[in-house]
């Protein structure tokens, strides 16, 4: 009985939170897509993503033709909710954002962080915040417990990522503090970065926290997590500037995914920390 009372309380509290977060009545109304988004209906929205970004956008091990992952599933749910058609277009990560800016694709949905710099070129709908993790070899031989410990160690980060920039900044700090600078390697594909650490060509690899945890969990004898940072980076979908209708559609759809718990469920499904979810919002510069 007491349990039931608690349950009711939690549900009520949840309902209040949801009601506060979404004052407008956000409901999935795919059948009204024609009226709401007349310019988008009947078109295939092209979503650019790199299918080598676990656990966000990856190939389905059971069917390589299929894309799965947290971002991929979330995108599917959002488009289903707003009643629009879309397709994934897979390319190397460094080519994704340029293709959206150029208008070759409509949006990029592949674990992209929000930065003011990027927001000058694209609009965002953000939905979670990023945790950054440091993947190190088992036993953390260089005793890396924070970014401050990375002076002078071989560091790896993805080409064109914020982690790459973070190492560059840190290296400057190291030099300013009279410590050795960071010899840095950038990898074009994430698996290549993992091999750098695995083969002792790099001491630390900085990437998405969920991925680091997954790697450490799946390969307990090879890797572990050196440290993690709540970098405060927001993660979102990037949409070509001027596509107001698409921005609105994705914003509305995302709100619904948060209010009906879809996003939270997907976070759990892919081993991501549900507390990483942030209230979705549209960001533009």
């Amino acid at each position: 009985m007491r349990n039931a009372r608690w349950l009711i309380a939690v549900v009520l509290a949840g309902a209040i939170v949801v009601a506060l977060n979404s004052p407008a009545v956000a409901k999935c109304e795919p059948e009204k897509a024609g009226a709401t988004y007349p310019n988008l209906v009947g078109k295939k929205i092209k979503i650019a993503m790199d299918p080598s970004t676990p656990p966000y956008t990856i190939r389905d091990p059971n069917d390589f033709e299929k894309i799965i992952g947290f971002d991929a599933d979330l995108a599917r749910a959002v488009f289903k909710c707003v009643g629009l058609q879309f397709e994934f277009v897979s390319g190397a990560w460094s080519g994704l954002l340029p293709s959206v800016i150029a208008g070759q694709n409509d949006a990029m949905w592949s674990n992209l962080y929000y930065t003011a710099e990027r927001a000058k070129q694209v609009d965002y709908v953000v939905y979670m915040q990023a945790g950054t993790g440091a993947l190190v070899q088992k036993g953390n031989p260089k005793k890396l417990k924070s970014m401050d410990d990375t002076c002078g160690v071989r560091a790896a980060a993805g080409l064109g990522t914020v982690e790459e920039a973070a190492f560059r900044d840190q290296s400057k700090k190291c030099v300013a503090a009279g410590k050795p600078e960071i010899p840095q390697v950038s990898y074009p594909d994430m698996a290549g970065g993992v091999r750098l650490v695995q083969n002792d060509r790099a001491d630390v690899m900085l990437t998405d926290l969920a991925l680091v945890d997954q790697l450490a969990r799946d390969n307990p004898t090879a890797f572990e997590r050196g440290f993690s940072m709540m970098t405060g980076f927001k993660v979102g979908v990037a949409i070509k500037k001027g596509r107001e209708d698409l921005l609105k559609a994705l914003g509305e759809g995302m709100k619904e995914m948060q209010s009906d718990g879809t996003q939270r469920a997907l976070l759990k499904k892919y081993g991501l920390d549900p507390t990483l979810q942030i209230t979705s919002e549209t960001l533009r510069n």
Binding site: P51, S52, I58, P61, V89, G95, A102, N219
Partner: protein
């Protein structure tokens, strides 16, 4: 059969088959499994770890397991689709790149500076910038100006534009590797620049071009992986995607590598076949082997032996004395054929007293060097004129001006009353647009000091090239006439030999037959025996002599005093770009009036005396 080749073959094939064999015997159940299902198993959960190897039962079974996975990946539709995409892009881009590259190569060889400059700039720019950036630019920057190419088109165009720059240089290298005299000979036969390029230059350039192009093709197939930034999901990118999902980089990348190896092996084989095709040194009378067999080092037994060709039959009947063949019925054939054609080609046959070739105040300078300084000369129909004089006196240049291989600076030359390739504009001459046509219409045959036979064509093919390609004769008629001509110069049994298998004297006689095949009204000989061994000279001079007997109008530049004395109607002695003395052979050679002529003849006679 070469033993090393056989071993190489065994190693290559064995290397390719080994994984399959191991899979077959190492894992009986796995061999018959459905690939899709197995793929699912192997990519499902296992991560690459340090302890995986240690916990495995034995190293051997781990290797077998790895090989089995690799083979499954090689056969997976996901990777094969990527392979197909890479092939599609590479083949289309290669085709486009070749065409554009040929155009660029020709532009680079142009005599017009702006044309050359544009091609140079293009090649400089494209070769000098990273291809990755070119692709991104095409894909992501062109939409700004309203050109939106899709992924596939961008990749094809991007790689084609890039390949054009590289293949242009390879093709240009091939073209310049072909001796310029080949083009001169073709031009003298009335062949236009593009016909010459297609029929004469490119086939010979191919040998130099092929290895480079094979390199580029192989490189391109692999480089299509660059296009992953513009959303091309080819083989490498697809394998990277699998690896990022299951981290089995070793087996997946090994599979991708094996697929690439297979593709490039095919290209290497095609290269070998083509190289064999364009290899002139190969003895083609040997039993034929397919290019693939040659590449693999296999000789099939029981292949039909070479088709009995006419040359072997002709050779059977070939008497020991070549001259006898030339002298016998062939003699009649030669003069008969030539005479008939000559009369057909010149409608105003009756006026034999009218000058047939008229040179009036002909001047030519190369840079500041004046080679010809006001030559006036005429040749009557049926007359044989020999031009003699020291080297550098302008003899050869005069010949080249008569059939418009070179351009006149001043003066004019008419053949049968007509300018060759010039229009009269007021008092000056202007070259016509279609020079090749004009040369062909003039029907002037030319024989060169160094023969200039087309090296990639047999004797007969050399002879029939211009009749078919320039004058539109039927193949059968041209072959028949070509064989008659070759018979008349005593070379019927060499009709199917390439020039490099003939002696100098034989080559020169083929060259004469080639010049006669266009039914010339005038024959120009530019020191036809100067490059020959003394014992070969007689055969060639004999052929020329018989032409003279047949009534052919000829201008012969030569140092052969005795030939000039016997055959020429008139001797012209040139020195320093002017005619010093001319007259009958008896006068000019017997009692020369000019000291310069006397001096030259003394030198030549002494030289001849030493033989």
């Amino acid at each position: 059969m070469t033993q090393p080749r056989r071993w190489l073959l065994i190693v290559v094939i064995g290397g390719l088959l080994l994984p399959l064999l191991l899979v077959g015997c190492g894992n009986p159940s796995g061999g018959s499994g459905v690939p899709g299902r197995s793929l699912e198993d192997l990519s499902a959960g296992k991560r690459v770890t340090g302890d995986e190897g240690r916990s495995a039962p034995s190293a051997t079974s781990a290797v077998l397991q790895g090989l089995r996975e690799m083979v499954l990946y090689i056969g997976s539709p996901f990777l094969l689709r990527g392979t197909l995409l890479a092939l599609q892009i590479a083949s289309l881009a290669m085709a486009g790149g070749l065409v554009l590259g040929l155009v660029l190569a020709l532009m680079r060889l142009s005599s017009v500076l702006p044309v050359r400059g544009v091609a140079w700039f293009y090649i400089w720019f494209v070769r000098g910038t990273p291809q990755l950036l070119q692709l991104v630019f095409l894909y992501d920057a062109l939409p700004i100006v309203g050109i939106k190419l899709d992924t596939f088109a961008t990749a094809v165009i991007g790689f084609a534009l890039n390949e054009a720059a590289f293949s242009a240089e390879i093709i240009r290298g091939g073209i310049v590797s072909v001796n310029r005299t080949q083009a001169v000979a073709a031009t003298a036969l009335g062949m236009g620049p593009f016909l010459t390029l297609r029929r004469i230059i490119l086939p010979q350039a191919m040998r130099a071009i092929l290895p480079g192009m094979a390199n580029d093709t192989i490189a391109m197939i692999k480089l299509t992986s660059l296009a992953s930034v513009i959303f091309v999901n080819e083989l490498t990118f697809r394998s990277q995607q699998i690896v990022s999902q299951n981290f089995k980089f070793f087996t997946v990348f090994a599979a991708a590598g094996a697929i690439y190896l297979l593709l490039t092996t095919v290209i290497s084989a095609v290269q070998a076949v083509l190289e064999r095709h364009f290899n002139l040194e190969l003895d083609r009378s040997a039993p034929r082997q397919s290019g693939l067999a040659r590449f693999l080092g296999i000789r099939w037994q029981g292949q039909p032996s070479a088709v009995p060709d006419p040359e072997s039959r002709a050779a059977d009947r070939e008497p020991a004395n070549l001259v006898a063949v030339v002298r016998e019925p062939a003699d009649l054939a030669l003069s008969g054929a030539v005479m008939m054609r000559s009369s057909v080609a010149s409608p105003n046959n009756g006026e034999s007293g009218v000058p047939f070739v008229v040179c009036d105040d002909v001047c030519k300078a190369y840079g500041s060097r004046e080679v010809l300084r006001g030559i006036c000369m005429s040749v009557r129909r049926g007359e044989v004129v020999t031009i003699m004089g020291p080297s550098g006196s302008g003899k050869s240049t005069l010949l080249r001006l008569i059939n418009h291989l070179d351009r006149l600076d001043r003066g004019e030359i008419t053949v049968a009353g007509r300018l060759v390739g010039y229009d009269r504009v007021g008092t000056s001459l202007r070259p016509v647009r279609n020079l090749a046509r004009a040369r062909a219409d003039a029907r002037i045959g030319m024989v060169f000091q160094h023969f200039n036979l087309f090296e990639h064509l047999t004797a007969l093919q050399n002879v029939i090239e211009a009749p078919i390609r320039v004058y539109g004769e039927s193949h059968a008629a041209a072959v028949e006439r070509g064989m008659t001509l070759l018979t008349s110069v005593g070379l019927a049994h060499h009709a199917h030999h390439l020039p490099h298998r003939l002696s100098g004297g034989q080559q020169q006689r083929v060259a004469i037959a080639r010049a006669l095949a266009i039914s010339p009204r005038l024959m120009l000989f530019d020191e036809p025996t100067s490059a020959l061994d003394p014992e070969l000279v007689a055969d060639v001079l004999g052929v020329i002599r018989r032409l003279a007997d047949g009534g052919m109008t000829m201008i012969v530049v030569t140092h052969e005093v005795r030939f000039a004395r016997d055959v020429a109607d008139r001797v012209v002695f040139m020195d320093g770009g002017v005619i010093v003395e001319e007259g009958s052979p008896a006068d000019v050679l017997g009692t020369p009036k000019q000291p310069r002529t006397q001096q030259f003849l003394r030198l030549v006679e002494r030289e001849v005396g030493t033989f």
